[in-house]
Amino acid sequence: MGDEYSDRVGELHARRKKNLAMGGEEKIAKQHERGKLTVRERIDLLFDKDTFVELGLLAKDRDGSDNAPADGVVTGHGEVDGRQAWVIAYDFTVMAGSMGAVGEQFKAARVRELALRYRKPIVWLLDSAGARIQEAAGSTFAGTGWLFADQVVMSGVIPQVAAMLGPCAAGTAYIPGLADFVPMVKGTSSMALGGARLVKAATGEDVTDHDMGGSQVHCYESGVGDNEVETDADCIATVRRFLSYLPSSNTEAPPFVDTGDAADRPVEGLDKIVPVNPRSAYDVRKVVKAVFDRDSWFEIKRTWAKNIVVGFARAGGHAVGIVANQPLQKGGVLDSDAADKAARFIRMCDAFNVPLVYLMDVPGFMVGSQVEKEGIIRHGAKMLYATSEATVPKVTVIMRKAYGAGYYVMNGKGYQPDVIVAWPFAEISVMGPEGAVNIIFNKQVEASDNPEATRAQLVETIRAQINPYLAAGWAMIDDVIDPAETRRVIIKGIAQARDKRIDRPWRKHGNIPV
């Protein structure tokens, strides 16, 4: 009796041991050679020590063979800074992390179901050759694909992170496509709707997975990737950092962290950062770092659409989402990609109860034939839509320029800011004085004996009308502030709006101009 008992228990331990060994020593060594960590090393970094609980360790592939320990995907939950999160982590050492029937239909699906049931964040660690073609080729494909529908149901309910730690080819690239945050490891990660071999067969194009879909493409050109990171460990650390600013679900507030930075401290050094001449450039990230809690700035999409800066920080310990124009890049002008980047970030903050702070210094939207061909009206409208729609606390600081529709999308007065203030150098206007003279006084200038002198005089007349005290005199803005007061005003403004409630007419959903 005793022997049978221990035999049976022993068999369990042997089965566990086999599957914990992943694809075996040789495959693990290869994984390390590529500069990558194994799936279990990654999970150890993702979760607080000894908090990981695995579900489905004993899974095999659909044929029950011994070739696919855990069917190539490790699933379960653990804690990130003491809060539960769920993981679906592909194991490249097992059949190149390919997605098999057991792993997808039972393991990954169960994680999606439970994460949503408990309203906890879900993290994909992606390192996979894609669908296991030997299982998926043929018309049983008809029954697949509902994972994306699940993701759409989760969207705006629980945070979704797709960490790119290796390839992510074919349809599975829609996992990051739908996720809230997509860090990419430089050199080893890639994503593409069709992998290199499929591309060759479909179109004849010769390209590698890396050249087609590495971080140098997605974090710099396409905007599909968010943050490029150097190593697997950096990537996982970035995931943990991202989650630290968000609540577990849309029914909670983001976690408060005591940063020890005084809420009422005057902001020092802005006079050295921001030139009074509105035509001169500066790095707005220096303003962000000076105003918000020390070491709390976490920038997102840093290397794409650099003319707008978005990211999280803390204001008196509370998480905030920052949208700031960047005069250092393209003069801070808004274009299609900048509007797209800002709109998506604003909607994420609004979905997850993160207050928004707009730091405005915008010469307007880019104009001209090039941007019209791109559909800038359609892209700009996304940002207009997102800012209007957002009902989280919203604070607007007009630092220098606030021109045209740029003023609107940066949460101008018409977009229900809880507090809107300006610095003394602020220029709020539909357009600059030169443009206004060209339009309003064109005939007068042409008829003048000295057109240039007349033009200059008219420009000065209009310039005098562009000052923040005119807007403050009409009480269209709440105050003009000393830049040193910016931190206190933002923190007080968010606190003022904590019990904010905005009721709007019932609708199924709006029709955002995507």
Binding site: R279, A281, G332, V333, V367, Q370, Y403, E434
Partner: protein, 70 residues
């Protein structure tokens, strides 16, 4: 050889370099004027200025080559 291109439509406000000049990464090569802003154009890498293809006051298109570095 590295071509430095205009990131947006604008006019050349100031040229701050000349053929033969040695430049370091991030050095200002010229300043464009567009959308009420002075927009500095900097060297993407260190090198020698081989050509300056624009002059002050000239209107440039997005993607137009401004300076060639070697």
């Amino acid at each position: 050889m590295t071509e430095v291109k205009a990131e947006l439509v604008g006019s050349v406000w100031k040229v701050k370099t000349a053929p033969g000049a040695q430049v370091a990464e991030e050095d200002e090569l010229l300043i464009l004027e567009s959308m009420k802003m002075e927009i500095p154009v900097t060297a993407p890498c260190a090198g020698t200025v081989k050509e300056v293809r624009v002059k002050e006051g000239e209107v440039v298109k997005e993607g137009q080559v401004l300076v060639v570095l070697e």
